[in-house]
Symmetry: C2
Subunit: 203 residues, 2 copies
């Protein structure tokens, strides 16, 4: 039995997207990452830029706003649209989904291999500079801001602690392992996956 869906929840700069892409290629599955933005934009009517900016990240300030706030409501609507798109894709199966709380949204689906990919700061800074290059902002600030916004978004919409192993089938620290090997481990796990209920205690 092979897992029909792979979700990749990842830290910025951990290589999770690269791993997801390799997993999809090896399993012959569809890969959803940036292209999910287009689907969500079409589904929701939001601009692609808005989806890209707010679909996974949230300012701490935003989380503190009351629900009467206009932009807060927009984010809630965006999350609902994202949810619809992800559940729709999950119905079809044979896909790898990166980010966007897919692990949480599909937590009750029995046939999902759920992965969390992370790395230490040194490894992530190195990869961010290699992949996205230098900008005016310091690498420390880029990492800190992205981590803070992504974590705030995840925790706000899922109510889950970021990086708690119990929510995943596999958690992999890529700091000391080649990305190809991480992808291979996920593919092998997916191939012998026995569908069943997930961890039920959300404490």
């Amino acid at each position: 039995m092979t897992a029909k869906i792979i979700t990749i929840t990842r830290e910025f700069g951990s290589g999770g997207r690269t791993i997801g892409k390799q997993v999809a290629a090896q399993l012959g599955y569809d890969f959803y990452d940036w292209n999910l933005v287009e689907k969500i934009a079409a589904e929701s009517g939001f601009a692609k830029e808005f989806v890209a900016k707010n679909g996974e990240e949230q300012d701490r300030f935003m989380s503190m706003l009351a629900s009467s706030s206009f932009s807060f409501n927009l984010n809630e609507q965006l999350f609902e649209a994202q949810t619809r798109v992800i559940l729709e894709l999950a119905k079809k199966g044979n896909c790898v989904l990166v980010g966007r709380c897919a692990d949480f949204l599909l937590r009750n689906e029995p046939n999902v291999l759920s992965c969390f990919i992370f790395a230490n700061e040194e490894a992530r800074k190195r990869r961010i500079l290699e992949e996205y290059g230098e900008t005016n902002e310091s690498i420390d600030k880029r990492l800190r801001d992205k981590d803070r916004r992504r974590k705030a978004h995840y925790q706000y919409f899922t109510g889950r602690k970021w990086g708690k192993s119990f929510f995943y089938d596999l958690c992999i620290d890529t700091s000391r392992l080649p990305l190809e090997k991480c992808a291979q481990m996920i593919v092998e796990a997916a191939k012998v996956y026995e569908p069943g209920p997930r961890f039920t205690n959300e404490d």
Copy 2:
């Protein structure tokens, strides 16, 4: 490069010990689990039964006792003896260490592949009954008590949250994966391991 030491931190009934044994056999490493009890007993002068009972588990009540308590001091002494034995084994390398906070004790060693093995309650109850058989106590109570005591011990001596992925290279949920595949993933990761610093933020 192959990781010289594998630590397996595991939930009761998750199959972590079985996985550790298979990993040790496949890598040709020494396997330390129950036999660690004997070493620690010899090192500390404590009876084997005391080491077996208190080396990994702690009553919540115990954690609340002031340091003036006699049994509290004994547990502290036992932990120190365990620490010495584990650091000594780590110096030699080529070993798999199951439990006893080895992940925490060896957190600054660059050449350690650190694994956390867990499973959902249904899977663990099934495995406990298969492996250890029925007793007078209900399976729910056995699981709950063991979880509580092991977690209390771990958190008391390490100051770490139980099951936080950032402390490990690999976390594996065995509920939906065959143990042989889990062991194989660890062996493969160990073989391509690039020694380096671990996660530094203990928050």
